[in-house]
């Protein structure tokens, strides 16, 4: 009897752009897949809700989710 669980492909939006992902996928895996250099330096919302940084590991991405990576940006003058 085969016990292999088939991977399901899901379609999500990352920063407004469509992306195909194998489900299930965790947020931390998605972060790696999107080459976010410093995960601790990004604020993330899924479907408009902020995700606590402590929940990056445990949060699962679902089909049709909209994920936004918001980066810290400085600039301007030292003051």
């Amino acid at each position: 009897m085969l016990t292999t669980i088939a991977k399901i492909m899901g379609s999500i939006l990352v920063n407004g752009k469509a992306q195909e992902v194998e489900l299930p996928v965790s947020l931390i895996e998605l972060i790696k897949k999107n080459n976010v250099e410093q995960p601790e330096m990004v604020s993330i919302q899924i479907n408009g809700e902020f995700v606590d940084r402590s929940a990056f590991e445990t949060t699962q991405i679902n089909d049709n989710d909209e994920v936004d990576f918001l980066y810290f940006m400085g600039g301007g003058s030292r003051c």
């Binding site: 330096m41 408009g48 902020f50 936004d68 918001l70 400085g74 301007g76 003051c79």
Partner: protein, 270 residues
């Protein structure tokens, strides 16, 4: 306020705008705006607000002009090198528009002076390059109920959001707390395309003029981001965060903090 003939001529392109008119120009001329940082972002903000005839412009910056600033900080010229940025900026504003009263603060914005300085202004512009001060501006403005514009630039990217405290998402709602010191590169370390400062600064100046005149919809509850390589602009909807430490349901930040200084104090106390 009665405009002179010269002023009517100077501001004619505003007055011609149906949404602005004489009434809107009066609001601009009565406006008091504080610009924190006279650098890449503060320079275009100051020039456009001065040109627009904002009545009072405050500028706070503790730095002097460096040769490496001139690639993007368009309010400072070559002979200004080594001059305090606030003085250099004030001189240009006075030349551009003598109607504008300029208050200069040759100082850093700190937890100790922030509330005292911002209290006299209608709107605050964040043109700073580091996160402790960006969070300080946010927290001070939320506490004082002062609207402000956040702006950030790095390499080929920029972002902006306008905050109306008590009504719309604040900077801390989105970014929670400052990243560890030196974890995020600043422009001085990573570089920035000079003209990006102009794009972002003029967006911030536009928000100020919209706020003062009441025209249009402010850039609230959405983070504007752009990338100059692709020239793609994006509005990301954000909303007030109930867990926000400063404007959430149970705020834990009741006093302003200088993050870097707080670290030093802990070190010296132990």
């Amino acid at each position: 306020m009665d405009f002179t003939e010269d002023q009517i001529q100077r501001y004619s392109r505003h007055i011609l705008l149906q949404d602005v008119g004489v009434e809107g120009q009066e609001k601009i001329s009565n406006g008091k705006v504080l610009i924190v940082g006279a650098g890449g972002l503060g320079a275009p903000v100051a020039l456009y607000l001065a040109a627009a005839g904002v009545g009072t412009i405050g500028i706070i910056d503790g730095d002097v002009v460096d040769l490496s600033n001139l690639q993007r900080q368009v309010i400072h010229f070559t002979p200004d090198v080594n001059k305090p940025k606030v003085i250099s900026a004030k001189e240009k504003i006075n030349l551009l528009n003598p109607d504008v009263k300029v208050n200069t603060y040759y100082d850093l914005l700190t937890a100790a002076n922030a509330l005292e300085i911002i209290k006299d202004y209608d709107f605050i512009v964040d043109g700073t390059d580091n996160f402790p001060v960006k969070f300080l501006i946010n927290d001070a403005c939320v506490k004082a109920g002062k609207p402000f514009s956040h702006g950030g630039i790095l390499r080929f990217d920029g972002q902006a959001i306008t905050v109306l405290p008590g009504t719309t998402a604040c900077y801390r709602c989105v970014f929670h707390s400052p990243p560890p010191a030196n974890a995020v590169p600043t422009c001085s370390e990573a570089g920035v395309l000079g003209a990006i400062a102009g794009i972002l600064g003029t967006i911030q100046a536009t928000e100020v003029l919209k706020y003062l005149t009441g025209v249009g919809n402010l850039l609230t509850d959405r983070l504007l981001t752009f990338n100059a390589k692709t020239m793609e602009f994006r509005n990301i909807k954000v909303k007030h965060n109930h867990k926000c430490q400063v404007c959430g349901d149970h705020p834990t930040i009741t006093e302003l903090v200088d993050y870097e200084q707080a670290t030093c104090e802990i070190k010296t106390n132990h």
